[in-house]
Amino acid sequence: MARRLTLWRWVVLGLAALYFLVPLGASVVFTVDVPGHGITFDAYSKILSTEGFVSSLLLSLELAVTTIAVVLLLMVPAAVALRLGAPRLRPVVEVVCSLPLVVPPIAFVAGIVSVLKWGPEHLSRTPLFQTFVAIQDPDFPVVLVLAYVVMALPFVYRALDAGLRAIDVRTLVEAARSCGASLPQALVRAVLPNLRGALLNAAFLTLALVLGEFTVAQLLGFCPFAVWIYNIGGSQAQMSVAVSVLSLLVTWALLLALAGAGGGRSRTAPPRG
């Protein structure tokens, strides 16, 4: 009976491995075995020199770093404050941070598009109009940061909340204060270091979200990394697949780093598709 169980398990795992590994393997074959050219590594060697690769990747990274900074600056004080001084606001924040889950990215971007239209339609004579223009600067579209922060809120909130639950913030602060620390000192010296795992977790989830985000960026007409892959897909199929494979490996490395660095358990990064 035990042997039958083991057999069953290996069949399941084998089939799963087949389904998940074949597309990856086939993708690699696809990129190096070009019909008419034989085996070639052009698709990989030419990536760097292809137009738009560096700029789109840099744009994505800049967006990611900014988004991480903004979302942590907004969420960390709020999450700590909920534990310390304002527990009654907790349900409010919880609802606010869950709402983005109810609005799919495509619906969200539809809303953003119509908000951005208010600019030219109603505000063209006011100083606000300049703001509308500024946030849509293609070199650094602030509007994407705004959108990504909103989309990251649920995951960041969950990661931070899990981290804060594991440590007793109130006792930590009280212990630090009874040792003579001021409140800011207590927060910076006692609470934040204990939150490092949760912060790393939140940062990596956000990074993964921003690097892979396609829907909002494409429909607003910007060209970060995911949109760039999509755009070259039509003309340079081999290279687009090569970059896809590489981006998978990068995501993999990031998540492994996350598992190693933070020991974090929340692997459910934002689903997208």
Binding site: A26, L101, V115, S244
Partner: protein, 299 residues
């Protein structure tokens, strides 16, 4: 609050307390203001736009339910139903395939296997979007490696179809299911299995009468989560099928980018509102299930 050491003078303590409570509220304010603007405005715009019709000649706007009615008719209704069907089928398959996979991992004693599969699931569950579509195009598309080498074309295979999309969606839905259900499977106590055997149940009876009923809320919760994830997916479908398969996300994108008739933005917003309602429904089903399963499995 901080430990209040006994003090003779009461007033300073009270004032100190007040001074300390203020930052508590203040720290939450930026978050609320930010979401009010960055999330609230688009949300209002969706609702407002969904109920507004603009007269093309005069530019006068009026409130009406016409957009919503339009969004539930003709090609839009087809797309909405197509999305629901695609999401429902791939979510159901994701649950059916993810459960045995997760159980195979959980029941294995090897920690390494467990860590490897869970980390891989974490990667693959997030491997949606454009890269996923391209990987499948390279594998099973018209010029895909397997299509060519196995001659699938002749047997009628077409990746750019409903079932092709299901196959691709499962690539991130099954790992998502594994991640969702693993904690629940971990929560199944060995005592339950042993108590069932001790009470004369066979292995099959244990699964039918104990394990599956106990897992039911988690399984349903997973189904709902997968449905929501598939329903909201846009990038994969956009990069793969264009508009060969009617999906509501593709319709919204078309309407937004003006690929179809001009002036359809408000119908796009109405469709968005439809999606929000479906997603809201999904959450409304998911949260109570989640709570119930937590009560059973973490007790």
């Amino acid at each position: 609050m901080t430990a209040a050491l006994p003090r003779a003078d009461v007033a300073p303590v009270a004032s100190a307390k007040r001074r300390r409570r203020a930052p508590g509220w203040l720290a939450v304010v930026p978050l609320l203001v930010f979401t009010a603007i960055a999330f609230g405005l688009p949300a209002v715009a969706i609702v407002d736009g969904a109920f507004t019709v603009k007269d093309a000649t005069t530019g006068a706007a009026s409130y009406t339910g016409a957009n919503l009615t339009a969004s539930l008719q003709g090609p839009y209704l087809t797309a909405l139903l197509g999305s629901v069907k695609l999401s429902a089928i791939s979510a159901a398959l994701g649950v059916l395939l993810g459960l045995p996979l997760a159980q195979a991992v959980v029941s294995s004693r090897s920690r390494a296997l467990r860590e490897a599969v869970l980390t891989a699931s974490g990667v693959l569950a997030n491997f949606g979007g454009v890269p996923l579509a391209f990987a499948f195009v390279a594998t099973l598309g018209n010029a895909g490696v397997l299509t060519v080498h196995l001659g699938l074309k002749d047997s009628g295979w077409d990746l750019y179809s409903f079932w092709g999309l299901v196959l691709v969606y499962l690539y991130f839905l099954v790992p998502l299911m594994v991640l969702t259900i693993t904690p629940a499977l971990d929560g199944l106590r060995t005592q339950w299995r042993e108590a069932a055997l001790n009470n004369g149940a066979t292995g099959v009876q244990y699964w039918r009468h104990v394990a599956l009923p106990v897992l039911a809320p988690s399984l349903l919760g997973g189904l709902v989560l997968l449905f929501g994830s598939a329903f909201a997916a846009y990038a994969t479908a956009a990069a793969m099928v264009g508009s060969a398969v009617p999906l509501v996300t593709l319709q919204i994108a078309d309407a937004l980018s003006g690929n179809v008739l001009v002036g359809q933005e408000n119908v796009a917003l109405a469709l968005s509102l439809d999606m929000v309602l479906v997603a809201g429904l999904v959450m409304a089903v998911y949260l109570p299930l989640q709570r119930r399963s937590a009560r059973w499995l973490d007790a």
